[in-house]
């Protein structure tokens, strides 16, 4: 799960909700914060999240919740053997009788302490793999102002769940994305990357559920076209389903429905 550009209060509420959900599901929760204390003296994100999670003190005392520092996760990490901290978390969750592991990466990427962007992306792919195969989930928060192409790679890896300030992208099955909110030039590149992500592994059709998409501008239409282009070139289909009237009008004005491999479908079952 990827948490992108949004206001302070939105980020706090998303992170707190994610932690609380894990506690409720009886999962082992590791909250990875950037540093011990906030050096700038400004409001610490960790502290704000801590205050927003009602059961925080109780969960810490009971051992269900742990806060880690980034450097601490790296000390567990053995670059030589490929031993990653999530394996330790998994075995501890198992030993404690928990239903799974839930990780919060409060501030990604920790590039000041890791070997580099490519290394980080490779790790993100490993974690994504683990999320698909094991009772393991992770929320990764990325700051504004990071290199754009790096962020887009990140969005592609996390395509199954992205939260932006005005858009949520979720995926319940392999070949499907659901868009909730609005797409404009502030986030259309993220949408395009997420589409690339879901299309990369799809063989036949990818369904993009637009029912809860409130607004799509011209750049959103471009993202829908480009993000699905490679799939459509190998004769796959992009099924754009149930757009609201305003969104449908823009899609049709830009003649998206006439692109090879694009199907615009209404309420009828597929």
């Amino acid at each position: 799960m990827l948490l992108l550009h949004s206001s302070w209060s939105t980020q706090v509420s998303h992170l707190a909700a994610w932690v609380s959900e894990g506690l409720r599901r009886h999962e082992f929760v590791a909250y990875v914060r950037k540093e011990q204390a906030d050096a700038t003296g400004g409001p610490s994100l960790t502290r704000a999240v801590e205050q927003a999670v009602t059961d925080w003190p109780l969960a810490i005392r009971g051992g269900q919740l742990e806060t880690w520092d980034v450097t601490q996760t790296l000390s567990v990490h053995d670059l030589e053997s490929g031993q990653a901290p999530e394996h330790e978390l998994m075995s501890r969750a198992e030993a404690g009788g928990y239903n799974g592991v839930r990780v919060v990466m409060e501030d990604c990427p920790a590039l000041d302490v890791v070997p580099g962007e490519d290394w980080w992306l490779a790790r993100e792919r490993q974690v994504d793999q683990l999320c698909r195969e094991a009772p393991f989930s992770a929320m990764c928060r990325y700051r504004n102002g990071l290199d754009k192409s790096f962020l887009l790679d990140v969005a592609e890896i996390h395509h199954r769940h992205v939260i932006d300030s005005i858009l949520k992208i979720t995926s319940s099955t392999e070949a499907q994305l659901r868009l909730v909110g609005e797409v404009d030039i502030s986030n259309s590149a993220v949408l395009e990357s997420a589409l690339r992500g879901v299309c990369a592994s799809a063989t036949d059709a990818v369904r993009v559920d637009l029912e809860e998409l409130e607004f799509a501008d011209v750049s959103a239409c471009r993202a829908l076209a480009r993000g699905t282009e490679l799939l459509r070139l190998r004769t796959g289909r992009a099924v754009l389903s149930n757009p609201q009237p305003g969104v449908e009008k823009t899609l049709r004005l830009l003649r998206l429905h006439l692109l090879p491999g694009v199907e615009l479908v209404g309420d009828e079952p597929l």
Binding site: H5, D184, S186, D217, P245, R255, L256
Partner: protein, 320 residues
């Protein structure tokens, strides 16, 4: 300043011509032979005219009138952007079917504002470029008594040929279309004395969501039906996006009501469009210029004014 008079091209290619008439007799003397010629050559003839002109032409043509394709100018000319695209789509379809075609079109000019007429003539100029590849003769029937003299001048500047006394001849006043469009942007002075109902200064793309929120509130306050509100929000979002991408700060988006129109305007400090034909061609998906094209399909009137201090794009939406 000297105005470049365009080369009106070889006379045997499809022509965009105007019949400037004062009386019904003059109209029929010009358009009926034009239509008959098309019928004689086995062409599809599309005639888009007002009900009274339609009746008059039908009377003249008798049973031949049944072989024509008729359109009602009231419906065709409701919104300039969609009118222009309807003609283009029609021409593209006829070309794809390899069906030789000619068009006689009488725009619905009665009771139009000067702004509308000026924009209409810009579409006439753009037609020389956008509709040219379809190589279809188009005859525009313009009632000189319906419009002020400067609009008649514009009509002369935007048509390659004039049909006079039953003869078609190259028009010496025809102006190169790109030059005409560019001059229009530079010369257009939009009045700035109006009580503004909302204003916002988007600094970056993350401000667009709150701009749309403000637009929605504004449309609700004026009880704009949801379909029209969606048009307004999409179009206004595009002009702000355009300014953020290509213009210069500060960018100001504002809205107000004027008579039975809602007006939304975006001002930025940039010099304006580099391509004067941007937004007249329907775009390929992914091509730039799509935003401008979309807003011409959504707004009832789009005006662009590029002055030394900056560029104003103004959208009007009919709201009775």
């Amino acid at each position: 300043m000297s105005i470049p008079v365009a080369d009106t091209g070889p006379a045997d290619t499809a022509r965009h011509q105007a019949l400037l008439y004062d009386s019904s007799d003059q109209l029929l003397a010009g358009v009926v032979p034009y239509i008959r010629e098309g019928i004689a050559q086995g062409e599809t003839v599309l005639v888009v005219t007002s009900p009274s002109t339609t009746r008059a032409i039908r009377e003249e043509l008798g049973s031949d009138a049944e072989n024509l394709t008729w359109g009602d100018s009231g419906a065709w000319y409701q919104r300039l952007g969609t009118m222009f695209e309807s003609y283009r789509a029609y021409l593209a379809g006829q070309t794809a079917r390899n069906s030789p075609t000619r068009i006689a079109a009488e725009p619905d000019l009665g009771g139009r504002s000067r702004s509308w007429l000026r924009e209409y003539m810009r579409f006439e100029a753009a037609g020389n470029i956008v509709h040219a590849p379809y190589r279809t003769p188009v005859l525009c029937l313009l009632n000189q008594r319906q419009v002020p003299p400067d609009v008649v001048e514009d009509a002369r500047a935007t048509h390659q040929d004039l049909l006079e006394d039953g003869h078609s001849a190259p028009n010496p006043q025809f102006v190169e279309p790109r030059f005409y469009l560019r001059q229009g942007d530079r010369n257009l002075q939009l009045d700035q004395h109006h009580p503004v109902e909302f204003t916002q200064e988007p600094a970056d793309a993350h401000d667009l969501a709150s701009l749309r929120h403000q637009l929605r509130t504004w449309a609700d306050r004026h009880r704009v039906p949801s379909g029209q509100a969606a048009n307004l929000i999409t179009a206004a979002n595009e002009i702000a996006t355009n300014a953020l991408k290509f213009g210069l700060p500060p960018i100001t988006v504002s809205g107000w009501r004027k008579a039975n129109h809602l007006i939304c305007e975006c001002f930025d400090a940039g010099p304006g469009l580099t391509d004067p034909t941007a937004g007249y061609h329907p775009p390929e998906v992914g091509q730039s210029g799509s935003g401008l094209w979309v807003l011409r399909q959504l707004a009832d009137l789009v005006q662009i004014s590029s002055q030394p201090e900056g560029t104003r794009i103004r959208l009007s939406f009919a709201h009775p």
